[in-house]
């Protein structure tokens, strides 16, 4: 496998009133070319900070250590100008809220061609015809008309499709989608994910989908990483992770999803995870999840678990491994 993106020991520390606090703590993962990978976790688990660190656009004062290599290039050591040449061209981002991510008073065509012309240096006419083709690709009806329209004239799902087209404008090799379906209706979510998956196949583009909804990932992502409090809890092939979760936190996330079958069988509708995720700077010693974990043992409060391989391409940061028997 040729890894397109290699993240090793990534740590992002943000300045807070009580000094620097780690939003991402010693995170490592790789993304192969043309693969779709999911990063899941609750709000505040460091998913978005991980994404922003790939772009070198972290909040002011943030400290990054570790290594982020894109096709062999170390991103953490690039200058602002070199980073700008990579953003959009090599890696692009689709953000959570398509309503806010598109400019309200610039025509769609301008937004699509702006980055295309900057990165690819194509003429205005060429950019416009490419833009129309892109809108066609993301299944926007009547692309010529859409180029002259404004963001407000489209529905939420359409806007997300347009936002994806804008991100694709300079033909990036890696697309990072930060909660791309959160702001959308359930019926539209599947369509967006299928679109991302099709773009991945057709363009050989790698996709990282960041989400808090494990169900969203089940159909499309090949591999899944579950983060908790800035650290990797569990990572592995999606089917294995969702079918036989080994980390109590992954299990908790799955139990917190609605299961109609369970209800019919007289089971609980949803099982919430007790407590709430730790805030920045309040991460407990030992395993960060132990105060909320039903399987917690005394050792969990003292030693910090490192992700170790437990099966083929399956990493687990839970030494007691209480769910091993279940799998």
């Amino acid at each position: 496998m040729n890894a397109l993106l290699q993240v090793e020991g990534l740590t992002v520390a943000l300045p807070t009133r009580s000094g620097y606090q780690k939003a991402v703590d010693d995170l490592s993962f790789t993304v192969d070319a043309g693969e779709m990978m999911g990063i899941a976790g609750e709000s505040g688990s460091g998913k978005t900070m991980t994404a922003l660190s790939l772009f070198g656009l972290l909040p002011h004062g943030a400290r990054v250590t570790g290594s982020i290599r894109l096709d062999g290039t170390e991103l953490t050591r690039l200058t602002g100008k070199q980073l700008r040449a990579i953003r959009g061209r090599q890696i692009a981002m689709v953000s959570q809220d398509p309503t806010a991510a598109l400019h309200p008073i610039l025509p769609i065509g301008t937004q699509l061609t702006e980055h295309m012309r900057y990165h690819l240096g194509v003429s205005k006419a060429e950019a416009m015809s490419r833009a129309a083709a892109l809108l066609e690709t993301v299944r926007i009806p009547d692309p010529e008309q859409a180029l002259r329209s404004y963001a407000g004239q489209f529905s939420g799902g359409m806007r997300q499709r347009i936002a994806i087209a804008v991100a694709l404008a300079a033909e990036p090799r890696l697309l990072v989608a930060d909660e791309p379906t959160t702001a959308l209706d359930v019926t539209v979510q599947a369509g967006i994910l299928r679109l991302l998956d099709r773009l991945r196949r057709e363009r050989g583009m790698a996709v990282i989908v960041i989400t808090h909804d494990l169900g969203v990932m089940s159909a499309t992502a090949r591999r899944l990483a579950v983060m908790y409090a800035g650290r990797l809890a569990e990572a592995g092939p999606t089917a294995e992770l969702l079918g036989r979760p080994r980390h109590p936190y992954t299990r908790g996330l799955l139990d917190a999803l609605p299961h109609p079958e369970a209800l019919e069988a007289g089971g609980a509708r949803l099982v919430p995870i007790g407590g709430s995720p730790p805030s920045l700077g309040r991460v407990p010693d030992g395993c960060p999840f132990h105060p909320r974990c039903t399987y917690a043992q005394p050792s969990c409060a003292t030693s910090r678990p490192e992700p170790i391989p437990v099966a083929e391409a399956h990493l687990l940061a839970c030494p007691p491994d209480p769910l091993r028997a279940a799998s």
Partner: protein
Amino acid sequence: MRTPPWRRPLALAGLAVIGAWAVIAIFAPLVAPQNPLAQKFGILLGPSSAHWFGTDELGRDVFSRVLYGARITLPLAVILIVAAMIIGAVLGGIAGFFGGWVDNVLMRVADLVFAFPGIILALAVAAALGPQLRNAVIAVVVVSWPSYARLVRSLVLSARSAQYVVASRLLGSSGLRVLFTDIRPNAAGPVLVLAALDIGNAVLLLSGLSFLGLGAQPPTAEWGAMVAEGAQNFNDWWVGLFPGLAILTVVLAFNFIGDSLRDMLDPRTARAVRLR
């Protein structure tokens, strides 16, 4: 939601009045019955069929002088508002974009200007530069630019953290490119509205300086200066009344246009301007 311009009687009236004054300004030599500077008639004659607005203390035709006055006030008002707009927008953009000490210095200078009543500061600047029409224009620009700087700064600040700006940066835009492609279109509407509302103020301020002898100098036919002459001949009401009415109609018409523009383009921003 948006009422078209032709359904807004005040906007229409304002446009008609300004249009009429613009035509008068352009064709003054053809429209005016007399040379505005010719002192060849009886002094202080009341309005009559020969002199519709009477004559002043030097025997000049007040009607012709009022018409010629439009040639001074209208273009200067436009020039100075454009100058104030450009200076204010550039400084405000710099302040909002770079922040830090640049922002502090520029905004404290703006505060300094705001701390004075406009007319007093304009008086001081005009007096310091010397009584000349050109200096009066500079004085009005000095007083006017901070409103634009503040407006543009606040627009830049709010747009800078907007998601679409962040999205643009994530796709490789540099800071300056974001400022020009993504933020500038947002600022254009509110700035134009502010300019339309402010131009009436500017006309008043400029005429005020001339009235006080710091702007247009005799024998120039300028409305403010003419009102000042009228104030010295109080019994001959026509000398001051007609140029005064000219100022009134122009300011009122600009304000009508500005109000309607604000309602059409930007319901929220320019409200603060009216408080001044």
